[in-house]
């Protein structure tokens, strides 16, 4: 009987869990979320002049082929090719269809429909055994695709021509190029090589006709290189780029024609058709953040006045890398050009001469490497109120005696301000917001849902993005700074030193990067709300920092310092004024370094520091025997609400919550067990290995999430050919060693580790846990799937204590090896996200809600409520009904009271 009941309850609870997946109603699409699609840094571009709807066809460094609308810059279509070198786009051509050659070994030739990007054809071109994979050039001419393979052992170029649509080989022959270097370019029907002695040699691939040019003295020498020049005309043009300048060379009737003067190397050059068979050269150059454009006729060197123009925008432009232009003749014989520019900070700019910038695309956002969600400051009125209660600031701020008179005055002013704002909102219902634009909008809301996304990109450009609209609020290009590399990924140290909660001090962020030209480290401190530098701004440190550490205490200005360890073992505090404060706390500061190559982990303490000098002394050392491929600590923002877990027999199993626990992954190639994945849980204060686990035949992709007292990791199992998820959970036991605080140094017996593995029938690109303000809400795990969806899995499904037998515990569902993939749990519904790099989660002011920002090639922002929005009224909450009911009830109460009184009176008279 009871068994029957339990079974029913189990089924119901299971169904309920499924139901609690978070689906969106159709009318809620785009309400809390937005998606932005990117293409990456421009590599090839073709301005389309023939179609009705004007488009720009582009191919990018991110292996994306796309068409952009000329009017708005929006994506008309986009095709994302294979990741990495297999999808690297080698060549693009567009006339009746877009033709791309990609890959690096077998080359894949694809044709795309101009209007919608549908694939027309696809074929492979394999290399012969003697042909190198690099140094293969491609060119297209009249329906034929030419593959030029440079066989440098024989100084011979092998030319193979294909029918572009079918892939059928039409002809193959070799051309001898005596004395050629590796600097060759295929352009039009010509193969052009620059020899080491500065001689330019050209050969027509169709009929092997040679032509030569002895280029001028200044472009001679080994430092020069051949550069391609984008041309929207039939005239093949290329440039010889040297240190300072570049020389343009056109190929006409099997001869070279060099331009009389050279162009600065940082200028963008493009060639376009002009009247009566002449050609225009359009030059664009960045001077003091303004783009200056001028042009001249290629054949006559005559400048064209019409083209001359300059463009500027609110944020300064950086140097131009490539440009492409298309000029047309108006009825009044004046020339106007459309110019597509790509800059070193990965922006794509489209402008029209004699007019303005049409649009810009911030393609650096396709390569975000680090993100923080920063609280917005409070509005001026609230700031005034806060000031009123902040007694400490009083004498400094106003200068009036801080007695009751001063307090009274401040209260009066703040209340006047409040009154004013009330009147303003009443008079012009929301108009004031419109008037002042963005600036007014950027204030904190009551639920802490409005934040600013501060993103650091791999190119060294910073962005401030409004999380509700997805608009870029500010941008800043740190030209001199570049990123570090760690485990083959670009990284920067990015910390929030002070949040916006500490009025009147502005919020402050800290970025540590590398100086481009030298080995030194660079620091940029800035206000995340507007991107403006604070203090020294961008500056070089004069040493190479090997480790950085955000300190856990604040100074009297609520600023958290950053501790930097240089390559010589010296310690520095940033800002330097905090050195004394750090030596006060020195006893409690521990940090560690890890060398991914050698697997060496070293722990340091500052305990041996004196007041004058900070010293880091080594206290522990762990030598892992393999390469470290991942390292995951817990989020410093995380709070654990529940310290234990109630078991079936009503006893409590206490969680092992060690904030200093770090999960370290190593991967090894093993001759017997193939790929071996080991995970070590290391207490980085005491340097003890708390637990370690090994998986054999486990390969990439490997992802790990570490939170509270559990670790969830995924790997691809080579043995069973599927993605598996491992879950570990750590418990102290039935008693808690220390109820108030955790100490790594005060050691205790090693924790009890529960473990379980599951199967996820999908490929995984990224993984992250949700986080909320107080940690009361249950945790979910967000998994970026390679199909482009973001799956939300309740942690309950990954609980290692899911029982196989009949042991019942509260909130534990029976074990099932395969995890479900319900479509309702895909939080980005049909908004496919390509190449998800990472998922960033941040708590909001509401305990129920977690803000999620997903980045990769596309950006996606949304919010999730793992335990449903228990602290907010529903969207479609019927205010009218509840008001009506309340009013009705009070009326009824009043009426019945009167009626009862009358009845009582009547009865009294009887």
């Amino acid at each position: 009987m009871s068994g029957h009941c339990v079974h029913v309850i189990r089924v119901i609870s299971f169904l309920l869990l499924f139901k609690s997946s978070f689906c969106l109603y159709e009318d809620q699409i785009g309400k809390f979320d937005w998606r932005q699609r990117f293409i990456g840094k421009l590599k090839f571009s073709v301005l389309d002049s023939k179609s009705n709807v004007k488009k720009i066809f582009v191919a990018t460094e991110e292996n994306v082929v796309a068409a952009l609308s000329m009017k708005t810059g929006e994506l008309t279509w986009r095709q994302v090719l294979e990741k990495g070198p297999q999808g690297e786009i080698k060549f693009m051509h567009a006339d009746s269809e877009v033709i791309t050659v990609s890959g690096n070994g077998p080359f894949i030739v694809r044709g795309w429909n101009l209007a919608n990007g549908y694939s027309h054809f696809e074929w492979n071109s394999f290399n012969d055994a003697d042909e190198p994979h690099e140094n293969v050039l491609w060119t297209y001419h009249h329906g034929k695709l030419y593959k030029v393979v440079m066989l440098d052992s024989q100084q011979v170029a092998r030319i193979i021509s294909y029918n572009v649509r079918s892939g059928g080989q039409l002809a193959a022959y070799t051309v001898n190029i005596p004395g050629f270097s590796r600097k060759c370019k295929a352009i039009g029907i010509n193969l052009v090589c620059l020899s080491n002695n500065g001689e330019l040699k050209g050969v027509t691939v169709v009929n092997s006709q040679f032509f030569n040019l002895d280029v001028s003295a200044e472009t001679k020498g080994a430092n020069c290189d051949l550069l391609s020049v984008d041309s929207s005309s039939d005239l093949p043009v290329l440039a010889i780029g040297c240190k300072q300048s570049k020389l343009l060379v056109a190929i006409k009737d099997n001869t070279f024609k060099a331009l009389s003067e050279t162009v600065p190397i940082s200028a963008g050059v493009s060639v376009t058709q002009h009247v009566s068979g002449t050609h225009l050269i359009v030059l664009s150059k960045q001077i003091d953040g303004v783009i200056k454009v001028n042009g001249k006729v290629l054949e006559t060197d005559q400048p064209v006045e019409d083209i001359q123009s300059s463009f500027q925008s609110s944020s300064p432009f950086s140097d131009i890398e490539t440009s492409n232009s298309l000029c047309t003749l108006r009825r009044d014989r004046s020339v106007y050009c459309q110019i597509l520019l790509s800059t070193v900070d990965h922006s794509i700019i489209f402008a029209q001469t004699s007019s303005k910038i049409m649009w810009t695309r911030e393609e650096a956002l396709a390569n975000i490497i680090s993100v923080e969600l920063v609280d917005l400051p409070v509005s001026d009125i609230e700031a005034a109120i806060e000031k009123e209660f902040d007694n400490k600031e009083a004498p400094v701020d106003i200068g009036v005696p801080s007695g009751f008179v001063g307090m009274f005055l401040r209260r009066l002013t703040s209340q006047l301000l409040q009154l004013k704002s009330l009147l303003l909102t009443v008079v012009s219902l929301g108009e004031s917001v419109e008037k002042n634009g963005l600036e007014v909008d950027l204030v904190r809301d009551e639920f802490g849902l409005h934040k600013l996304i501060v993103a650091v990109t791999s190119v060294g450009k910073l962005y401030g993005i409004d999380n509700l609209s997805g608009n870029v609020v500010w941008q800043k290009y740190l030209g001199e700074m570049e990123t570090y590399k760690s485990i083959d990924k670009p990284v920067v140290s990015f910390y929030v030193q002070r949040t916006s909660r500490h009025l009147p001090y502005p919020a402050q962020c800290f970025i540590l990067g590398k100086h481009k030209a030298s080995d030194e480290s660079m620091v940029y401190t800035f206000n995340p709300i507007n991107g403006q530098p604070i203090g020294d701004g961008l500056h070089r440190l004069g040493y190479r920092a090997v480790q950085s550490l955000l300190l856990h205490f604040v100074d009297d200005q609520f600023l958290k310092g950053v501790l930097l360890l240089d390559s010589k073992g010296g310690l520095h505090v940033h800002p330097e004024s905090q050195t004394a404060l750090v030596s006060e706390h020195a006893k409690s500061i521990f940090f560690f370094t890890a060398n991914s190559e050698s697997g060496l982990l070293v722990g340091y303490t500052l305990a041996h520091s004196s007041l004058e000098k900070l010293v880091a002394s080594e206290v522990w050392r762990i030598q892992l025997s393999h390469k470290i491929t991942g390292l995951m600590s817990k989020s410093p923002l995380e709070r654990v609400h529940s310290q234990g877990r109630v078991l079936g027999d009503r006893s409590v199993l206490y969680k092992y919550i060690n904030p200093n626990l770090v999960a370290v992954m190593t991967q090894a190639e093993d001759p017997i067990h193939k790929n071996v994945l080991s995970i070590y849980l290391i207490d980085v204060v005491s340097g003890s290995i708390v637990f370690s686990i090994v998986h054999k035949r486990a390969t990439e992709p490997i992802h790990l999430v570490h939170s509270e007292n559990w670790i969830v990791y995924t790997y691809f199992s080579d043995k069973s050919r599927r993605t598996e998820i491992g879950a570990l959970e750590l418990y102290e036991g039935k008693t808690q060693s220390n109820t108030s605080a955790f100490s790594s140094v005060a050691s205790f017996d090693s924790p009890i580790v529960e473990r379980q593995a599951f199967i996820l029938p999908a490929g995984i690109e990224a993984m992250k846990e949700t986080i909320t303000e107080k940690g009361i809400t249950s945790k979910h795990i967000l998994v970026g799937l390679n199909s482009g969806g973001i799956l939300e899995i309740p942690w309950m499904f990954l609980d290692p204590r899911r029982p196989l037998g009949d042991i019942r515990e509260e909130g534990v569902i029976p074990y099932m090896p395969e995890l479900p993939l319900p479509a309702e749990s895909i939080i980005n519904y049909n908004q496919t996200l390509h190449r998800v790099r990472a998922i960033h989660t941040a708590p909001s002011g509401l305990e129920s809600t977690c803000l999620v920002f997903i980045y990769g090639l596309d950006l996606f922002y949304t919010r999730v409520a793992p335990s449903k929005t228990f602290d907010v009224l529903k969207e479609d909450f019927d205010y009218l009904l509840i008001t009506a009911v309340l009013v009705g009830l009070s009326v009824a109460a009043y009426a019945t009271k009167r009626l009862a009184q009358r009845k009582a009176l009547k009865q009294a008279w009887k």
Partner: protein
């Protein structure tokens, strides 16, 4: 209500730079931990940041799997005992270096530490945990003491000998999805259901009498208590 965990020792780690301390280690492919290995212990009893290593003892591990260890530790002399007490009074660290020498002669250094006061209060009773990876290589040596925290109780006399227990902590095998027992469970459930279905051929009333009787009783009772229903009978 439990609140967030406060931690005394904080270590906020954020970034890892791969070029750190490049030490060219040549990893032997064959396991060189199969044979006996030796662990030489050094400790530092000075207060400065640079440790001054002094020999503490020597251990020979015949076989890591069996955990059979022979150890020889030199007794602490009076001067060392005094310095250890100074360390303890200053709330400083007792640092230990373990040099692991494999049967093939490869040497690896490990460092570990405990609070000196904890060691003193434990009467020099300590544990050495040697973590071993899947190939049998030692990856870490960490020391812990019998009493984990300092009660700041005055210790008059210290024994002159360390009482050390060496533990080997092998890496554990990762879990694999337990499909076999899940299928078994499903089988069992199916069988139980089939058995249940064949046996349970009682009538509707026989099966659900425990639900029907209370409902009938409830209806009857509520009908009896109703005066209007009972009226005509009177």
């Amino acid at each position: 209500m439990f609140n967030s965990v406060m931690n005394r020792e904080k270590c906020i780690f954020v970034t890892l730079f791969s070029y750190l301390f490049i030490i060219g280690f040549v990893q032997c492919s064959e396991s060189d931990y199969d044979g006996p290995m030796s662990i030489t212990l050094y400790h530092a009893l000075n207060l400065d940041s640079e440790p001054h290593w002094e020999s503490r003892g020597h251990m020979t591990v015949q076989n890591a799997a069996s955990g059979y260890v022979t150890s020889h530790q030199s007794p602490l002399d009076v001067e060392s005992t005094r310095r250890l007490k100074v360390l303890s009074d200053k709330d400083s660290f007792y640092r230990l270096k373990a040099v692991v020498k494999t049967s093939q002669g490869r040497e690896v250094n490990f460092l570990t530490f405990v609070k000196a006061c904890a060691l003193v209060e434990s009467q020099l009773k300590d544990y050495l945990t040697v973590s071993v990876d899947h190939e049998g290589s030692v990856v870490g040596v960490s020391q812990s003491t019998a009493l984990s925290s300092c009660a700041s109780a005055a210790t008059e006399k210290l024994p002159s000998n360390f009482l050390t227990t060496v533990e080997f902590k092998p890496i554990e095998q990762g879990p694999v999805p337990d499909t076999a027992s899940y299928i078994q469970k499903l089988e069992r459930e199916r069988e139980a259901r089939e058995r249940g279905e064949t046996k349970d051929n009682r009538s509707f009333l026989a099966k659900y009498w425990m639900y029907i009787i209370p409902i009938v009783l409830f209806v009857v009772l509520s009908g009896a208590s109703n005066p209007e229903g009972a009226g005509p009978a009177r």
